[in-house]
Subunit: 375 residues, 2 copies
């Protein structure tokens, strides 16, 4: 592949008789967006019009169509890259964007994770085991209740406490007041236990609003930040990751329906644009991702790719403590296991249930390895 | 409906035996995101947990599930509203978000279109007929070529010339240089013809990048701006619409796959967040939206709703001049007809083809009316 092109792979539903024409139409739609007859400029024809590289049947009645696209069309910008990969074709329900191959220098320009897996480990002081994560919820609790909950989770030794993705800047627990109080409660617990729990508040709204929130989080000295890139736009993720100064955790809200293969979107692209960790609904929970999809997300987040730091995969979504050994076996050490609601239903036994979660992760540590080379 | 709740309607694929439980799970997922047993706070149970209002079978093996959600969870912010409407449930492929009902005061808080249909008419001096629109493309042309094309379109009397949605801030035609040159070409044409063509350059990147682009557009005195809200994030659309000073045109890139009903997303929500016009793929073009869907998008953009100004529906996507009478009959006067590629294939006959487009719109004007009450 020349450095002037990237290659996008689409899964296209079309029969053998029509796939060649459909692939050509897709290449035009995702580059010049006019019939070829309307492209009179020789340079545009030669260097800008996307080219069908290969067409191969899949196992599922679809075809893999690989299309080489001119790097110059992306403007080296996250939102525009996504636009050129799938902007108009998202309106065609016979097409799924399944993968991209990027020239190394192009990918490096986006920067990828600033902290990566090593940064998460440094932040919480965890080596040789998965990290643990839980969530502050439900939405609607007061600042004091959320802070009290955070203190309990921290005393139990959870590594990363994140906001529920529904927590924003609501009246029931305004961002600045919540973040300050939650961080104080975690600081107090850390002093008591000698632990190093960190907090990832959820950023919402425009980049302006997020900058005010980042200022409040920085003032409170939170150790991480969370963002939902498909709600905020991936350009906003990239700006936040560049400015955050702490690891960023990507939430998949609004991402599931996008007909972009989850390993590509939640794994590769969120990593490319700077997410240091990526939450995804694990198989067997209350979402429908398959074990193979989940394994592919983890691989895309961690594998050696274009010199970018690896991002931490965060399986979640209806997990319970009894799932820890299985998740540990599936995802290995370089993962963060997120258990939320199933801890909270313990009521007064919450701290004990959290301790069981932490112990289960430490007990199984060191027995298996993901075996993937990073970078 | 109490002002403290909004009502979201979901089309859910589930049989009669399981739909009640599925609806309750959906209500929890889109509010507190924990099992009800984990909600110990009485206020949260009473005021924050979403409630299933009704379940009704549809014609298509699915059920309409209406869920009343607490307004307070939205933080009165566009991205967070979308998150609460469909953040996690986008990850469930048995659910489509099909409609929302908002209290009038809540909707008014978002502002809606600043200019609306009347603003577009004022800007181009068009009364009693649809507006005409065409696009600068293909991507990859130089600044001079794009400016020359814009001059031709303007001389032919096209009302609104927009950037192709693929045009961003690429090296082949950097934003600031392109916008200045294109606007100069349009100004020259307007002086020659006495016309009032305006230009809508496409904003891309983060809000920071868009602000620089808005400054360049403002310096060049462009009459409109375009943005793709599902790429940028809806919070960015709202910020841009608030600051633009000229009508904004929403592009549907990345929006088609979102499993949010197009009339709701492209019509109602983009309007709510400030778009003055909304482009959608018209039936019979190269996209697969049905005539009923297109009519519903136009209705959602224009109908009387919460005191918000109406937005201009912009049918597009593989339209040709021969489609003008049909589009005029379908959408009435209060529309902007967008024809791009099929004009450009005319080559040297481009200006004549554009004049035919303009004449076709003016010829059929005044014979039919959409008949919808606005605001």
């Amino acid at each position: 592949m020349s450095d002037a092109r990237l290659t996008a792979t689409y899964a296209v539903r079309a029969d053998r008789a029509s796939i060649a024409a459909r692939a050509e139409a897709l290449a035009l739609e995702q580059s010049v967006e006019v019939p070829l007859a309307a492209v009179r400029d020789a340079r545009v024809r030669d260097e800008v019009v996307a080219r069908v590289e290969s067409i191969a049947p899949r196992d599922d009645d679809r075809h893999d169509v690989r299309i080489a696209m001119a790097i110059e069309t992306t403007g080296h910008e996250p939102g525009q890259l996504l636009n050129m990969l799938f902007g108009n074709s998202s309106l065609h329900d016979d097409v799924e964007l399944s993968d991209v191959e990027l020239p190394r220098s192009f990918a490096a320009g986006f920067g990828g994770p600033r902290f990566g897996i090593a940064g998460w480990r440094d932040a919480v002081g965890a080596a040789g085991r998965p990290l643990t994560c839980s969530a502050l919820k439900p939405l609607g609790l007061s600042v004091d209740s959320l802070a009290s909950l955070a203190g309990t989770l921290a005393r139990a030794g959870i590594d990363v406490i994140k906001d529920d993705h529904g927590l924003a800047d609501q009246q029931s627990a305004p961002f600045a007041a919540r973040v300050a109080a939650v961080q104080r409660a975690i600081d107090a617990a850390n002093r008591d236990t000698g632990g190093r729990t960190i907090y990832a508040p959820s950023l919402t709204g425009s980049l302006d609003a997020m900058r005010l929130q980042m200022k409040a989080a920085c003032d409170a000295r939170t150790g991480a930040l969370m963002i939902a890139p498909m709600v905020s736009g991936v350009s906003t993720l990239a700006a936040v990751a560049r400015e955050a100064g702490v690891p960023t955790l990507a939430h998949p809200a609004l991402a599931g329906a996008a007909r972009i293969a989850p390993p590509l979107l939640l794994g590769r692209l969120f990593r490319l644009f700077g997410a240091d960790a990526t939450i995804f609904p694990n198989a067997g929970g209350r979402f429908s991702y398959s074990p193979a999809t989940c394994a592919a997300i983890a691989r895309a987040a961690r594998e050696r790719w274009c010199g970018l730091a690896p991002a931490l995969p965060v399986p979640a979504g209806g997990m319970g403590v009894e799932r820890v050994p299985g998740m540990r076996a599936t995802f290995g050490d370089d993962a963060m296991l997120l258990i939320g609601g199933s801890l909270l239903v313990a009521g007064d036994a919450l701290e004990g249930r959290c301790r069981a979660f932490v112990a289960a992760v430490r007990d199984t540590a060191g027995t298996e390895h993901s075996g993937e080379a990073h970078r």
